[in-house]
């Protein structure tokens, strides 16, 4: 037993490092935070930044031969490594963003903010590799608990506390439902690790009995509730708009990109390993008989993207608009899961890479503007093209990319998703996806119209000045959106090389 643990530790260094970062940053915050009352939290911020950078630089040295660590708890494979890169890169960028955010600097104890970013990142790294329901539950709870605290971090803003309360109630409820589902599945199959559950189900446990088959369906649906809440799929999305609007904007960006990616990683691993007959026939996954997962997730995907896009039309707050847009994007990404093929998985991962650039860019620009003009309301964006041409151009690029119009990067992501779905003979789903992209153009266009075609409110067209750092970061995010729309070969290759999952 002890040998298993010692053998596993070398492959577990990234997670250990980030856990240590959390502990050390807590101690640093305790020492630094007490002296000066007007602490900006920068010291703790830099400690966490250093920890994240050290962690991400350990990843290339990992042996990615698919295998399990600590018995059956955590899997190491190219699939989890891909999501770890994505999550850590997002974490680094979020820490950098947070250091500039005025909303956070107004807090008294901003140092603790970075500690919880580290804790949340640790949880998400575990989620990408979790291959035992115990680990899945623990990792999801670790991420949830840290994000409850982060969502309510702006203590001076009433809406932040409200966001945290709604988040804790919805999050607690859905994780309790998921846990009940886990307990039922444990009772049916007698195991908690994915491969044993798959073996039991493939061996006919619970599938052929009239009594236990409905329970199996119920258990799987309850577990789906937990994942649906993490990726904010309709109908488990109710918390998303409120939390995204109320939370500090850097937390919103982190939830929208990294937390969603981790949710997809754990969901894909669970469904592909547990419910599929793991037999890969020319890159296609064959589902265990009796449960029509394809149809079920396809319906979830259609609901998610349609509702996200339709409700976004009515939003006047940019943060809330981006929240609904991120719900819609979860719907698009679910199309790649539905395809149940290697091409589908590649499309999901490619989409996440591109989503990373376009969504973080959009959130950053909204944050920079809110820091200057103190508002996220769409009416305050009137005449922005005259007042801050470069920032307005940046926001336009990100929004066009989110719409998925060529020649920007978002188009490539959508194109891959649609082709994966068409290859899986679900043409109706692809059509709904295209219609949805058209709808989404409408509400993004409202932002363009306000920025470019309308006169500023109160006739105030004085230029808004941004610090050089803001401009540099905006340009750094614009470039990949432009380049990857044309030169996307390396991204596709990287995604293709990362789809290998540990099976058994």
């Amino acid at each position: 037993m002890i040998e298993i643990i010692f053998d596993s530790i070398p492959s577990f260094w990234p997670e250990i490092t980030i856990a240590l970062t959390f502990v050390i940053s807590m101690i640093v915050e305790f020492i630094v935070g007490r002296k000066g009352k007007a602490s900006t939290g920068m010291t703790t911020g830099f400690v966490v930044l250093l920890g994240l950078v050290v962690t991400i630089f350990q990843l290339p040295f990992q042996d990615l031969e698919p295998r399990l660590l600590f018995g059956t708890m955590v899997a190491v494979d190219p699939f989890s490594a891909f999501f770890k890169y994505l999550i850590l890169a997002t974490g680094i960028i979020i820490v950098v963003f947070s250091m500039q955010s005025r909303e956070l600097r107004e807090q008294e104890t901003v140092g603790e903010f970075y500690c919880f970013i580290a804790a949340m990142t640790f949880g998400m790294l575990l989620m990408t590799g979790a291959s035992n329901l115990l680990m899945v539950y623990l990792a999801i709870e670790l991420v949830s608990l840290s994000s409850y605290i982060l969502a309510g971090f702006s203590k001076k803003q009433k809406r932040s506390g409200e966001a945290a309360l709604k988040y804790v109630l919805f999050g607690g409820a859905s994780s309790a439902v998921m846990l009940y589902g886990i307990s039922l599945l444990y009772g049916l199959t007698g195991a908690l690790d994915f491969s044993s559950i798959q073996a039991a189900l493939a061996g006919g446990v619970a599938v052929h009995s009239v009594h236990s088959f409905p329970i199996l369906i119920l258990a799987s649906l309850m577990i789906l509730v937990g994942f649906g809440y993490k990726i904010s799929a309709v109908p488990f999305h109710f918390w998303t708009p409120d939390v995204y609007e109320g939370a500090p904007i850097t937390v919103t960006a982190y939830l929208a990109v990294a937390s969603k990616a981790a949710g997809f990683a754990v969901m894909i691993r669970f469904f592909y390993v547990t419910f599929f007959d793991s037999f890969v026939d020319l890159g296609h996954w064959v589902s265990l008989p009796h449960i029509d997962w394809v149809m079920m997730i396809a319906i979830l995907s259609v609901l998610t993207m349609t509702l996200g896009n339709l409700v976004a039309i009515w939003q006047d707050n940019l943060k809330r608009l981006l929240a609904y847009s991120s719900i819609a994007h979860a719907g698009y990404i679910l199309m790649g899961v539905v395809a149940m093929s290697d091409l589908g998985l590649t499309a999901v991962m490619l989409y996440f890479l591109i989503y990373f650039f376009m969504n973080l860019g959009a959130f950053y620009v909204v944050m920079a503007i809110a820091d200057r003009i103190g508002s996220e309301h769409i009416d305050d964006y009137r005449g922005l093209a005259k007042r801050a041409p470069l920032i307005a151009a940046g926001l336009s690029v990100f929004l066009v990319s989110l719409t998925g119009l060529p020649p920007l990067a978002g188009f490539i992501g959508k194109w891959m998703l649609f082709s994966a779905v068409i290859e899986a003979n679900l043409i109706w789903l692809a059509i709904i996806g295209v219609v949805n992209s058209a709808i989404s153009l409408y509400y993004y266009a409202r932002v363009f119209r306000n920025m470019y075609l309308r006169e500023p409110m109160d006739g105030d067209d004085s230029p808004i000045r941004f610090s050089p750092l803001v401009i540099v970061i905006t340009i750094l995010f614009i470039i990949p959106n432009l380049i990857f729309g044309i030169y996307f070969g390396p991204l596709v290759t990287y995604a293709q090389n990362s789809i290998e999952l540990f099976l058994r």
């Binding site: 009433k158 307990s183 444990y186 007698g190």
Partner: protein, 103 residues
Amino acid sequence: MLEIGLTHYLIVSALLFCLGFLALTIRRNAVLMLMGIELMLNSANINLIAFSRYQGLMLDGHVLALFVIILAAAEAAVALAIVLHIYRTHNTVEADRISSLKE
């Protein structure tokens, strides 16, 4: 004499789960809603222990139940801190009256 078996435990846990869910949906007081969540978590615990005991399984179920107890305590700590903060800013813990964020 009636032998207490797996089925009885499962019925109790299903009832407990439904009661918790009812509390969550009907009650508007944030603290009572949190208590509903606790009931749901504990119903799952009963399931885990009962399955583990009566189906002669390994200790997985017991271990998961232990972890759930710990996590429930952690979650309660965070949630109650948030409720306390809400009470300071809003002077109420009724979920319906805390609604500045609306469509």
